[in-house]
């Protein structure tokens, strides 16, 4: 094996974690902004659990832990989407249990 190939191999292996890191940050930012907009879209059906995941994601990102930040943002997104579903469903569903209709 030539020396240059080895060098390339080595530098690639060194670079890999760095590029993964860069990817995690972008992934986080994308998921976080989706989560944020879904949370907003929940209108007056926002969940406190979404808010707290968003906060945790933000503080993890601030400390550079993008894996955790991404995980928290993903949870926030899932919760926010459920809260949007709840809002949409309740627009009609409340009438089914309301006394007097």
């Amino acid at each position: 094996m030539s020396k240059s190939l080895l060098t390339i191999g080595l530098s690639l292996s060194l670079l890999a974690p760095l590029s993964a890191q860069a990817g995690a940050k972008e992934d986080f930012q994308k998921i976080y902004s989706e989560a944020e907009s879904a949370h907003k879209n929940a209108g007056n059906f926002q969940w406190t659990t979404t808010s707290s995941r968003l906060e945790e994601a933000e503080s993890a990102a601030e400390s550079g832990d993008y894996d955790k930040a991404k995980a928290m943002a993903s949870e926030a997104l899932k919760l926010a989407q459920e809260s949007v579903d709840q809002r949409e469903k309740q627009a009609e569903a409340w009438k089914n249990i309301a006394i007097g209709g």
């Binding site: 059906f45 969940w47 459920e82 809260s83 209709g101």
Partner: protein, 279 residues
Amino acid sequence: MLKAKIILVALGAALVVPQALAGATPEEDRKQAVEYFKQMFPEVPFEEYVNGQYALNEDRRGQWESLQDFPPYEFAVAEGQEMFETPFANGKTYASCFENGGIGIRQNYPYFDEDQKQVMTLELAINQCREANGEEPLRYKKGDIASISAYMATTSKGKPFNIKVSDDPDALAAYEDGKQFYYSRRGQLNFSCASCHVQNPGKWIRADFLSPALGQPSNFPVHRSKWGELGTLHRRFAGCNRNVRGEPFAPQSEEYRNLEYFLTYMSNGLPVVGPSTRP
């Protein structure tokens, strides 16, 4: 936003007019609610609903009664009276802002203010009175405003709630908005106010005993052992929302004022008994 809501409600009203007899008006809603609870608790007299969970559970009632001969809110009520009677910097008092000098009027709140086009709660009126007289508004959840509101409630003790939803479509829209809020499931736990207080009153949820919807606002402001002090109805709303993991609204937000409007209308005919004590 408000306009859109009005149009929607107007549409809704147009649609339900033919079924008006099936509970389309606030008064029909209220009558059906009274009937609903009468069937659920045939042995509980109507007037008892002001006592919430204590109307439904004897052991709890015993503990509550033992607090009543010297309730822990007595100091707050006395302070509320003192504040109510103390003139502002301009020499005027709260009495100048209210009908009958603010005495014996609790049962008329909240009402729909036709000029401001919004639900006027007693606490909002207290702060508007302060601001009209050059004073800083008070914070809405506890403290001075709860004490003043509690004092004003004592001057109305026993007077039946007389909440009016006029023909003004905005008033009806506010009522409907509050009604929708009460029955909508929210928060991660997916509970509505009604899940507990219409569908399951008289049952335990963990260590708490659920009160019926009827009469809920009539004992506020309330001294909760948990708080160790008086708190307003909107403080309680926020706590309930947070309990089901739903983001609470600001006290005196449009959401909570409309909710209070609906909920108090449901208690029409029941007397003002506030302040009271709760766990």
